[in-house]
């Protein structure tokens, strides 16, 4: 029997820590690309990438997730964010290769930030599963 919480997740590193996103939200892992910037006032949006003729915003959540000392981000994880009924691709800078894993997601317990929607127990590692919308909302309130 398959648990309702069993699912596929993409694990990505940010420095020493790994985080997870539901695999269904991730579309690709992209190599470093030219970040294009212009003036704006949205917190944690670093700029945009031009990928196959499409403009993809880059949301750098590292400062929220691991603090200001996050190491150099080398790749972009491209994930879908929902804006009402509209889905939009977002590039998230990560520090290394990503992996796909299948695991049961446990509900968040204790005093976890609101953007943690679950936990994965992977051998000796606890990985937080992120809710991008809530993460973006935290960033907007900051």
């Amino acid at each position: 029997m398959t648990s309702a919480n069993a699912n596929s997740f993409v694990l990505f590193p940010l420095g020493e820590k790994r985080f997870a996103l539901p695999a269904e939200t991730v579309t690709e892992l992209a190599r470093p690309d030219r970040l294009q910037t212009f003036p704006h006032t949205t917190p944690l949006v670093a700029g945009v990438l031009l990928r196959r003729g499409r403009v993809v915003p880059v949301c750098d959540f590292a400062a929220v997730l691991v603090g200001p000392q996050a190491p150099l981000r080398k790749f972009y994880l491209i994930a879908n964010r929902s804006f009402g009924s509209v889905r939009e691709r977002t590039a998230i800078p990560v520090t290394g290769e990503c992996t796909l894993t299948s695991s049961e997601m446990l509900p968040p317990t204790g005093k976890l930030p609101p953007y943690v929607c679950g936990l994965l127990l992977l051998q000796d590692e606890i990985v937080e599963v992120l809710d991008l919308e809530r993460l973006a909302a935290v960033e907007a309130r900051a």
Binding site: F38, T41, V55
Partner: protein
């Protein structure tokens, strides 16, 4: 026998834009939104009479016959620190001019990309969208975002109080 429909080449409507810079940042504005591009001569210093932060970006006026143009400092509008302004873009829709570092060239854009929804700040008002020019993505500014009708009205009220005074040529900088 069916007649074959004549195939017309599909050409996307293209829009002429003026590319300009403020500091190290490139922008575009619809060519049709600009009435004139000129130098900075003839500017008069202007102190907005109302202590509104949003009006602090208006530092000069330009007399155009009987009209007074309010000059928006684009660097202040977009929060850009350093800009060596040399040009004014006089806008068509209102008595507003924009002080920019340089006007690079004209270009044609085939697609205006909507600003991604991830952007939630003032930029949603500042830009009509994003355009690809060569390998670069440049924001296409919304002319009406430089000064709203209400802001222009307030500035006119201040102008009537005689706040403008002449600035010597070459004295206008970042």
């Amino acid at each position: 026998m069916q007649k074959k429909e004549a195939r017309r080449p599909r050409t996307a409507p293209r829009e002429a834009v003026i590319l300009f810079t403020v500091g190290a940042t490139g922008f575009a504005i619809a060519a049709g939104a600009v009435e004139e591009i000129r130098g900075l001569e003839g500017l008069a210093r202007f102190a907005p009479p109302f202590k509104l932060r949003s009006l602090a970006r208006v530092k000069h006026t330009l007399a155009r016959g009987k009209k007074t143009c309010f000059v928006v400092d684009a660097a202040a509008q977009f929060g850009i620190a350093a800009s060596r302004d040399t040009r004014l873009l006089l806008l068509r829709h209102a008595a507003v001019a924009v002080q920019v570092e340089n006007v690079a060239r004209m270009a044609e854009i085939a697609t205006l990309h909507a600003l991604p929804r991830a952007f939630t700040g003032d930029e949603r008002r500042w830009y009509r969208g994003l355009a690809q020019v060569g390998d670069d993505v440049v924001p296409v500014v919304a002319p009406e975002a430089f000064l709203t009708a209400a802001e222009i009205s307030l500035l006119h009220a201040g102008g009537a109080q005689g706040a403008a005074r002449e600035v010597p040529e070459g004295a206008v900088s970042a």
